[in-house]
Symmetry: C2
Amino acid sequence: MKTNVLNFSGGPGALPISVLEKTQAALESVDDTGVSLLGMSHRSDWYQELNAKAQSNLRELLDIPNDYEVLFLQGGGSLQFAMMAMNFLKSSHQTAQYIVSGYWSAKAPLEAMAQGQVEVIWSGESEGYRRLPTMDDLKNRVDPRAAYLHYVSNETVEGLAFSNDTTPQAQTLICDMSSDLLSKPIEVERYAMIYAHAQKNLGPAGVTVVIIQRALLERAQPHTPPILNYLAHSNANSILNTPPVFSIYVLKLVTDWLIQDIGGLSKMAVINQAKANCLYQAFTEREDFYKIHAKPPHRSLMNIAFSMKSVEQERSFLQLSKQQGFLGLEGHRSIGGLRASLYNAVSLEACEELARFILDFQSV
Amino acid sequence: MKTNVLNFSGGPGALPISVLEKTQAALESVDDTGVSLLGMSHRSDWYQELNAKAQSNLRELLDIPNDYEVLFLQGGGSLQFAMMAMNFLKSSHQTAQYIVSGYWSAKAPLEAMAQGQVEVIWSGESEGYRRLPTMDDLKNRVDPRAAYLHYVSNETVEGLAFSNDTTPQAQTLICDMSSDLLSKPIEVERYAMIYAHAQKNLGPAGVTVVIIQRALLERAQPHTPPILNYLAHSNANSILNTPPVFSIYVLKLVTDWLIQDIGGLSKMAVINQAKANCLYQAFTEREDFYKIHAKPPHRSLMNIAFSMKSVEQERSFLQLSKQQGFLGLEGHRSIGGLRASLYNAVSLEACEELARFILDFQSV
């Protein structure tokens, strides 16, 4: 297949070519059934198996403990912002706490406000979202009686990421891992709930993975409409209504690829570290020319937001990079500048090619 | 492309082969961009054009008046059941009225209950959902002060459909057309809101089309979380967060096919009428053998639910039909029996082949 492999888009991100090829074949006949993937009933035995396999692949890759459920929902991360508050904040007489560390985490409390008391315990806004909170910043701020503490592990727009050492601690910790789930191993037991939309590392837009501890599930507010109720989805094994079959099928292929071709998340993490290293090194060699948005200790391996001395230079960088086949290097419209996103399917070779471009680029 | 064309599944339903072929090509490079459909950013110019074209195709096919907006949402019909109540019933001090004429319309008030006062003005449950309400049944029941009146135009499970003459009338009429939108022309101005998930006649599961009058949009309750607020989606032109790009792309191809290959909805309606006629005729010729669930004046052109004299006969019918390549003829698990779904992409030839099978079948 000849498709652009220099796709550094912020998302929907690139997918592995072998996955695209298998998806092509499945549009004609999926898994030797003779039936198109797009004509398959979600009540078929075939779909039951797909649903089970996609879940077990995620359990294997992330080493998910038995007391967690894996759900496939719709609506992206934004619907999770609203659903968590409808299920766990509303009628709880508790406060929901939020860390606001960038564009996306700032949106989460706005979707929750109508359901109850919302408290932002730390915000990086006044510093332009260039760093994450330290343990000291959060000290005495986390309330053990809160409904939950929500944060975003990787800020896609600003290129900030929490590390193992800086991960917040809370009684009920909920994390939006939309842009780094499956990029490295994680300790699921730290969290009451983890969720991620698919369109970075998991598959195509249209499905959202939720990994939720049973103890939290059981707190779901019973008056939440069933279609917005985590417990109802769990009871129906994520087939409460027609699921986004196509997106879940591709997610299954992507997780097969991670297990069989890559060899698991530890190996994926080594590759992702190498990819990011080669780019950060290129930027550092020319630090007179490029400015990285995020401060060093909090830099993401998934997204590098950077800028140049002038808008003209940036425009010229974008134009020339496009001519050379690079794609998706525009910065997010909220902060401008440029951005390279290095999701799982972006190869080390593609990153090396971009690093050479960064080193060689001379503005006109 | 060699894919099963005898797919009579209740949904996700079959799609036209030419659409599947174009989708295959787009997985490698969509619209000559060199980029995979699954790696395309929803903030690209390409996506802006796709979004506009999918909307304008729907406007053209359905002759949608200018004071209606076309939205692309996620979550299927079930999320609409909840959203309409969150937006138009909650805090309104009004009652929301419902017609319960089958499996799906019975679910709608359950998703709305937590938001306010819900009233079922007619239910076919005690009659086993074999007929729809007449004008007399509804007389004096429809409250002009109600937040809205909700009904389902085509009951997929039971094979019941409202006709032009039996369509309910109300101040604020909301209709779930999930299983018959785009199967025939409709008068959009009769409705304050029409919605349909894609996986019958519109495209693959994962996107839901909402056609909503501006006057209703403006009634959206401001405290609804933005991601569940119709007005917020409309203000963002359906790109409030990452849309299900794949499903919307295929929907665009399906609507292209309806315009260019079929020649519009009047022509599609003629074909659909012929398809249904040939099957109903076959059943009638052998009415000693097959029993159609729905009473004659309310029979659907999209779904025919039928049964035989014994479960053994039905099992034998299913087994033999599968051997001959027919697919998806199982009845819905809620009523059992058998069902043939005749969505747009099921050809007249496929229906004729099924009619022959129905006429020839001898139970063992």
